[in-house]
């Protein structure tokens, strides 16, 4: 339904480079990428805030690349929602309907309907200024959905929310989607939004859309090492496999099954066991390592280790970290089962 073809645009110090993707009616497309990837700029091009240097945007087959925003039927919800602070909630939601010259009664009916669906009917007479972040988000979504746009563009709709509220709103967003059945492009840097909401996932880095596909497919088969790293895969090693043995730098790693030739593997950091003494266990991969530094991940401590020439990260709890009294530049032993290794 919406098709973006070879879209490119250069600024002084950044460019969008030949973006391609297509979404179908009713689809929820999540674009995941680090900050600075150009996600917001891509949304702005689709919304019509600027015109690309080259490439086309097609909506139901029609070329809308140079159409002004007010003629596109694409609603845009920027980060922080872009509410009209000088209006009440009702007038915010009614804005697009008033523009379309709906009758007064019809406007009231539609606004109340959508407000009910989004649980904000009690807020209709309130000033926008005094709303909480979660309420603001709902008003923005209501204002966009009420005009039945072809596509809704959402820019980081769950940032600036605390974790509990975010989880709650994520669950509700899923419900709204089912009930209201809209088509959306949702831009985020947060993995759980992609997993919760996305039908399809695009990975965007440095102005390029590097991979587009089913969510599960993208996560299980990241096309490039950069994507794998961005998706949080640590301990990615490349090497030469001969049967069940991978030769990488100066170490030999036992693989879960037989492979031949160049392979890339990932060892989940929390599956790496740390001990002060050499342990003999069922884990077939045992190495001596030096602790280079450690980092507080909030829930865990991440140890950065050096094993011969290779750097590995391992996670452990604060409690065991303190118990073991691990210090920088110390020797520890690492072990991991071959079955813990992901080969991709």
């Amino acid at each position: 339904m919406l098709k973006v073809e070879d879209l490119s645009k250069s600024w002084k110090d950044f460019s969008l480079k030949r973006i391609n993707f297509e979404i179908q009616k009713g689809e929820y497309f999540v674009i995941l990428g680090p900050s600075g990837a150009g996600k917001t700029l891509l949304l702005e091009a689709i919304a019509g805030i600027f015109i690309p240097d080259s490439g086309r945007i097609l909506l139901n087959g029609e070329d809308i690349t140079e159409k002004p925003p007010e003629k596109r039927e694409i609603a845009y919800i920027p980060q922080n929602y872009g509410l009209f602070d000088h209006m009440k909630v009702f007038d915010n939601i009614a804005y697009g309907l008033k523009v379309r010259k709906f009758a007064r009664e019809e406007i009231r009916k539609q606004v109340e309907e959508i407000a009910k669906a989004l649980d904000i009917k009690h807020l209709l007479d309130r000033k926008v200024k005094n709303l909480s972040a979660g309420e603001r988000q709902r008003v923005a979504i209501a204002r966009a959905i009420v005009i039945s746009p072809q596509v809704i563009l959402l820019d980081e709709p769950f940032s600036n929310l605390d974790v509990n509220l975010k989880n709650k709103l994520l669950r509700e967003m899923k419900r709204w989607r089912r009930e209201l059945n809209f088509t959306a492009i949702h831009v985020t840097h947060s993995f759980d939004e992609a997993l919760s909401l996305g039908d399809k996932l695009g990975i965007m880095m440095n102005g390029k859309m590097d991979q587009v596909g089913e969510v599960k497919e993208v996560f299980s088969k990241p096309k490039t090492e950069d994507i794998a790293r961005f998706l949080g895969y640590e301990n990615i090693l490349e090497g030469h496999a001969e049967g069940k043995i991978l030769y990488s730098e100066n170490i030999k790693i036992e693989l879960p099954q037989e492979f031949y030739g160049r392979v890339r593997v990932m060892i989940p950091p929390q599956n790496i066991l740390i001990s002060k003494n050499m342990i003999f266990s069922s884990a077939r991969n045992n190495f001596k390592a030096i602790v280079e530094e450690f980092e507080d991940l909030g829930a865990l401590i991440k140890l950065k280790l050096r094993v011969n020439g290779i750097k590995l990260a391992a996670h452990l709890t604060k409690a065991s970290f303190v118990d073991m009294g691990i210090k920088e530049d110390e020797e520890v032993y690492v072990s991991f089962k071959s079955t813990a290794i992901h080969v991709f």
Partner: protein, 249 residues
Amino acid sequence: MKDNFSVFLASLGAFLVAFLIIPIAVTVSTQLFDLNALIKALNDEVVLNSLFNSIFTSTVATLISLVFGVPLGYVLARKNFKGKNFIQAVVDIPVTIPHSVVGIMLLFAYSEAILDNYLGIIAAMLFVSASFTVNSARDGFMSVNEKIEYVARTLGASKVRVFFTISLPLALHSIFTGAIMSWARAISEVGAILIVAYYPKTAQVLVMDYFNNYGLSASRPIAVILILISLVIFVTLRRVAVVKGGGSI
């Protein structure tokens, strides 16, 4: 924590505050001992006409500065173009030109059209006061996030509609504050009006006449009336601006 240095700074400041407040206090309070003169002035048709002229012209000048200054402020806030710095300088320069020179320049430029008529008074006032409206409007529009304007457009609103329903209302507080300053500046003008339009007589020129013809005491009643009118309107409008804007100016 009291300390000598803060007291010293406050004392220096107090001198200036005293210097500013004493003239107002002395003038108004001495008039209170001669209420008859005040009442007589308030019944004098010449005085009443001049007061009407002052308020009428300064209000019209402010309205004109709004009609033309708000668009100019919008363009200065939103557009980048060659010569923008020059335009900004043109807006700011009138504050530095002596008022008598302003009068002469206006006569040179617009000659008979503005000589001794309302248009002349308004032109003089507009010249010295427009910068307040333009600069406040510019600041007001600059504080409106452009993203919000684009959101309104994706909802279907044309540029014109967005300007009137989004940009203008959001910048209104700043524009209103600037308009109050423009009005105050306009009604305070004397020098340029003396040259351009001695007639129709404005109250501020009438004060000067009375002073020149009958002396200091004769000019006081109308001076006091002007002070009180200016203060009441200025303070009231500022209050309104604060309440409307929900902040301070």
